[in-house]
């Protein structure tokens, strides 16, 4: 399971939801309105499928979704908490 929690995997997941975005470098995905709230829900749903962890509403804040790295860290934290 932990092998799956890599940045590459996360970016792959994101590209599946919404293409044509520079997920490797962009750190303002929400602030610059690259992702809208429907995209975020799609990402959350994918995270749920891929990493088997649900993102609670209180974690849906811009800081957690502004970059692929931030999302990865959030997922790691959630996995830890659930474990």
């Amino acid at each position: 399971m932990d092998d799956d929690l890599t940045l590459d995997h996360m970016i792959e997941l994101l590209e599946d939801v919404k293409g044509n975005v520079d997920y490797e470098n962009c750190t303002t995905l929400v602030d610059d309105r690259v992702l809208d709230s429907f995209d975020i829900l799609s990402i959350i749903s994918s995270i749920n499928d891929e990493f088997d962890v649900s993102v609670p509403a209180k974690d849906i804040v811009p800081d957690n979704f502004n970059s692929a790295q931030a999302m990865l860290e959030m997922v790691k934290r959630l996995v830890d908490e659930e474990g």
Partner: protein, 527 residues
Amino acid sequence: MDLLSLSFVLFLAVSLAAYYLVGRICRNAQWLVLLAASLAFYCLAGRWQTLAYMLACAAITWAAPLGLARMDAACRAERAAAPDRAARRAAKAAWARRRRAVLVASLAACFGMLAYLKYWNVLLYEVGLAASPSSLGLLLPLGVSFYTFQAASYLVDAYNGRFEPQRNPLKHLLFVCWFPQVIQGPINRYADLGPQLLEGHSAKGVPVRRSLLRFGYGALKKYAIANMLVGTIDQIFSNVTPGIPGSVVAFGILLYSAQQYGDFSGGIDMVEAASSLFGVRMAENFRRPYFSVSLADFWRRWHITLGAWMRDYVFFPFAVSRPMRALGARASRLGEHLGRTLPACVANLLVFLIVGLWHGAEPHYVAWGLYNGLVIALADLLAPAFSRANAALRVDESSRAHRALCVARTFLVVNVGWYFDRIYGFGDSLLCLRNTFTNFAPQQFHLWLMQAGVLDSTLKFMVLSAVACLLVFAVSLAQERGVDVSGRILGWNCVVRGVFYFLVIALVVVTSFLTQNVAGGFMYANF
């Protein structure tokens, strides 16, 4: 009190002088001036009799988070003392339930007050138990919807542990009653606004000229556009008969889209400017909404703070709730896209149902909300189909022409929505919509307007509003292209600036005089 009035200017001048003077002596006490000014404004501009409702709302949203913090401490203590992991878990769950109960109870209290003041009478009237929608004589407190939503966001954020709750009740009260926001929003967040209100500022570094420019820009929208058009719109839509020509309806709706934007965004510009004179930047509420490329985009640019509030406190929590996740899982069997978007679509419908109700309890508002929700949901569900169609037709989605087409299409969709927002009666809305397509009758346009009591002179004077609209359009277009319009104007030669300011003022003076019989106050003041 009008924002464009000597009384407001004097009020601002006295408050600003006191604020910066106190700041020189004791920066820690500066916020007290803001609180005093805000309470004074509430009594001057609203009805002092309704102050108690706001105080109650502030008291609840101040006390509850402190209670939650204590419960957190108690929970930690109990868990530390627990003998084993199972006991720790049980303690956590028990305290989580209690925390949730406190949250629900305080939210219910706040929204209960709002519902009672705003909807109870209308509800009684709709079911035939009240003589009129205002027969109970309830006084609607100024800005009740705005401060309630703002206070509720504080409560939920505190519940989620976003920040340390404010211990000082007066400091919290200031956040709830900050006077520029209390008339018509924006709905601010504590994390952004709270620190600004409390930290204190010096007069240096306050963008005075930019603020005044923005105040004037708002006044132009409000007086030269909104107030000039509101009378004609009233005349048109208070005379809806089966024979109303579609041309008149379309004209009325177009005027409404200008009036609505001018009134609301103009008022917001004025209060944002007033706030920034104190060094306090409030959240932006409009980002040139008529340049949106989709209805969803429109709602991210129109009344932004309400949209954001709905997104954070209704849309996300509802969409990721367990039943919605289950719905998504079931739907994904029918298709991956459907599975991912269906919960969002349902949540979106709920959001717009609430947005509709927020504007009023009448059925046409609900229809308007649902219309918006449905269009956005359908657009999202059908997004893959649209992309496939675009690809098949070789549409270049990044081209300027495509963008312009999307803007025009969105403008049309938004305007269809205004039919339900503005025409007070669901049946009338449908009738007008039908006539727009089946009975446009441009040859009856003038005659019908005359019969509705619209004077020729009124139509003639609309040239002034058209000039103002052009000005706003030019400014918006430049802003869309990333131009700092205020900066450009302030860079002009000062004689040119003087002439320009005078011409804008002249437009406001003339239109304000022409519309002096229109009842004052902002359209959104009671929302």
